[in-house]
Symmetry: C2
């Protein structure tokens, strides 16, 4: 399959069925992710795969605790999005999804945030390729991982990716049309006649 | 082609031939990138494609100016890498590569750095898919883009990606073995027998 089809088909899932998945596929996706480039080739990413229901429950509790505080007064630039999507402090996907991938970055590496998130791009495309739904959930508080999961202080939790089978079929994906986000030569200067792959927006 | 092959084959190119490339393929890669997820679906990425030699020369001059200062006293965590790779303040790829993709992030969007770099992961995989070499070069100073390229203050240059045909065949890629970067359940706990896709390191 072409990468564009994989990227187009992938929609963030917020509800998961509890169906079992092949963890070999999760490993495959992380194998793809580790081939990403990184600042000074430090490969500052680490991954914890969690499938044990007890641990998932603990993780969910820690996240929801922080989410409750966050949702009392969310930042202005995100408030409407939360409302429209019906997103509350409740994170059932953290226990419903068969597996969680916790992605960590080593905060002493150069460009570590950039490198880790670039590799997350690789990761979620690969999950889609093998037919697994995912969400890049960013917890409001991440300090509990050291005590709860034995993570060294040097590593920071960047995202928790629930992985599994989605409860519903994918919803429509809203994107700004292609030619509205690209300029040629200078800001504001449109790209005219740039070849047949120019497919416009959705 | 499987995503893992694309990811494995891709090696950051530091030397480019001046050969012309099909800009339709560059557009294709950005089309892939814009399907990445983003914080509150703000899609905070914007792209400027530069092929004009004069503009590339100007960009190179601005970058090298800052690089000279940076290389006088590079951070400890990157010094050895620069030495080993023979990386100096000179950035000939900024004029040699047929096209530059400048990637910007809107700094008022939630999780804008994370979102933009995730989409850069999509972007460079797609460039590899269509046979184009790339490098995610992060300039030491990015403030000149506002004056030089008319970029609004709200947008920050995140990377300049030279795109084109590489001068040399790809070199070997060094990666930490797969099972050294994954744990199961908790930090330090190895993932044993996780299915056939477990291919070990390189």
């Amino acid at each position: 399959m072409k990468l564009r089809d994989i990227a187009r088909n992938r929609v963030s899932a917020r509800e998961f069925s509890r169906e079992e998945i092949d963890l070999g596929n999760v490993l495959y996706a992380i194998d793809v992710a580790r081939h990403a480039p990184s600042g000074a080739n430090q490969q500052p990413w680490r991954f914890i795969i969690v499938t044990d229901p007890k641990t998932k429950k603990k993780i969910r509790a820690r996240c929801e605790e922080a989410e409750k505080r966050f949702h009392e007064n969310p930042p202005e630039n995100i408030r409407r999005f939360l409302l429209e999507k019906g997103i509350t402090w409740r994170k059932p996907f953290l226990t419903d999804a068969y597996a969680l991938i916790l992605v960590f970055g080593r905060k002493t590496a150069p460009y570590w945030i950039q490198s880790v998130w670039l590799s997350i791009g690789y990761l979620i495309l690969a999950l889609e390729e093998v037919g697994l739904a995912s969400l890049t959930y960013t917890p409001s508080d991440t300090s509990w991982v050291h005590e709860e999961l034995g993570v060294p202080e040097e590593y920071v939790l960047q995202t928790i990716i629930p992985v599994g089978k989605p409860k519903h079929a994918a919803s429509v994906k809203e994107r700004i049309p292609l030619l509205d986000i690209i300029f040629c030569g200078r800001w504001g200067s449109p790209c005219v006649g740039l070849g047949p792959q120019n497919s416009g927006g959705e």
